[in-house]
Amino acid sequence: MDLSLNETQQLIQDSTKDFVKGACDRDVLLKLDTAPTDIMPRYWKQFSDMGWTGMAIPEAYGGSGNELMDVAVLFEELGVGPVPGPLFSSAVLCARIILESGTEAQKKALLPEVASGKRVFALAFTEAQFGWNAENVKMKAKKDGGDYSLSGTKVFVDDAVFATDLLVVAGIEGSIGLSLFRVDAKAKGVSIRPLAGFMTGKSEVVFDKVKVAGSDLVGTANSAWTGLDKGIVTSLPILCAYKVGGCKRVFDMALAYAGERKQFGQVIGRFSRVQDHIINLVNHLDSARWTTYEALWKLDSNVEGAETSCHVAKAVSSESYLRATDYAHEVHAGIGVVRQYGLTLFTKASRSLYHTLGAPRLHYRRLEKSLKLVA
């Protein structure tokens, strides 16, 4: 047993910390929050220069084939920003789905370009009847000779505004099961509309008779679910690590503020009511942290029960991030809701990511299955 980071991971942690502190200070993060597409390309170049876009991709497909724990260390520190952007969607989630589902030729063609950052993928899964189960996907592709025609609406799609390619989940008319299609984000008939509100990076994506070549059907027709689910489940702990980073930062902010802010002649951190908020916060932080780390270790070492741990980690970290920001707001009171202060970037991220790849409720349902509670 050794629960410390290894040398590689410490290096990743240090360089990511430096990046977040330097290139991505609070002003930049506030700008990214309102106009992400204006400045993201500049950052994306740095992401790929630093090799981040290829970390989760095997060497055989142009990546650096890092352990998931290495990738998680990167995402935890990005979550400390919080640095937004499509790195998770493209270089982890879609990369893993393609890795699980794609044909050898597709993997050879697509993954090196994901690893280099040339292609940016976003996963178009959820629809009007929002949900992350197979039965929530109603969209159907029409067969058109050897090709396909896609029509329908996807909504709350993460990072579509940054994408060069969309990985679209849909059925095929007249068939049972789901299929995966690679679609150019700029293809004729695709329109991407960012959604406003208390959320980050989500869009509506409308497909209007979009032509998809037969060769862009990823993997085998009508049997995408297994690979898709495996890609999603094994990506979960990376997203969780990003949330752990967020919890970590709001904990530091709350602790620092409680030690500076004076009321009634003393710093508020001396009041036990205020201390209780910070204690609740750190308990959420550590719950998210250790469930996530164990899931990562199980995936990296092929330990039995990895899937169960992934669901535990996602259920816990989504709830923890939400609650951690709540407690940070209780400590900060007024100043916490001033946009320039920066706390609300985390609050927004915690809400925005709560349902991404399934809310806690869904993961509890999945747990019921993996614990064999369902007969």
Partner: protein, 409 residues
Amino acid sequence: MDFAIEDTEQQQKLRMEVREFLEKNVPPGITHTVDAANQPPEQYQLRRELGRRLGKKGWLYPHMPKEYGGADMNADEVMVLNDELTRIGLALPPYYDSGGRMGAPTILVWGTEEHKKKFLPPIFRGEVRTWQLLSEPGAGSDLAGIKTTAIRDGDDYVVNGQKMWVGSAHGAERSWMIVVTDPKGKRHENLSWIMVDMSLPGITVTPMETLATGGEGGAGGGCKNSVFFDNVRIPAANLVGGENNGWKVATTHLEVEHGGTGRMSDRRVIGEFIDFCKETHNGVRIADDPDAREMLAELYVEGEIMRLFALRNHWLSHAHKPRTYEGPQYSLRRKLGSLDISERMLRIAGPYALTTDEKWAPLKGAIEYFQRDAITSLHPGATTDIQKVIMARRMGTGGREREAAGKLS
């Protein structure tokens, strides 16, 4: 990171060795009851016998130094021993030994070489069972407010006063206790720790009746006692850590008690209850009810968090990593998490969760016992409120420097 606790070849070898040893050395006749408080003296004696056999190999306190009777084992090796004892329904040590579990590491940090040579080997070899004596009628959370005095008189200290919430059933050979050595001294500068031979004249032990054991295992673990001291003469050489230096010494003792070292014995009842709900009993498979299923998944997750906090603390302490708030954080989680889980079990199982009746009780009454035990566990080793106070200090919430965790080595 590596969460594995039993994978290397060496550990596998050790596991086989331990298993073989236990097969040969666990005295025949050891039985397990759900409620440790109900175990008769013979059961206690059998566990003591096993303790002596383990002690001979240094395996009773395996992480302690060899020179005093331990085995110098690292975290992974200790876990193997723990696992193997847990597998057969026992713990390490296999009987209630609070004064050994918390006193020995304290003596190791604060005692003189003479103290260590005198007090540690009998504990580690299983020759003595030691209780810890801290609380008093007027001093629970406020430990520094104790009143029991030990006044120097020639080569002895003369002890008078009353301790509460002490030990277990079936007595102890020794007690490790905190006393006031300077009744006129300033708070925190008037205390000392002393090792007491329980056979000395003037000591009276009176049992108390409590709801449950409060998570303290071993035969008779649930019984608590009041211990009265009436002019008990204790050799001055038994005072450890310096006269009136007891508050500093207490930081080590309390760090162990507040969960700083992590306890690897998880709540077995969680897994057993989940399995029970997956089986059909009285014509009903509880897990078929979607509400019950949801609560089962939730209590499983809570159990996982408790287990992971314990695992983390175990590693932090055995790998000698810096700690701040983690000890009390685990204690707090274990206390509140257990209560939460027990109440979910009550909601799921209904009145079945409340009976020990042979005909109707699930899991031989283990659920009923857990209902009582989770409540009783809220106070031993400091209340939830005190755990929070310590966490806040360790995090430095008041802008002050973070209070350091108690020394463990």
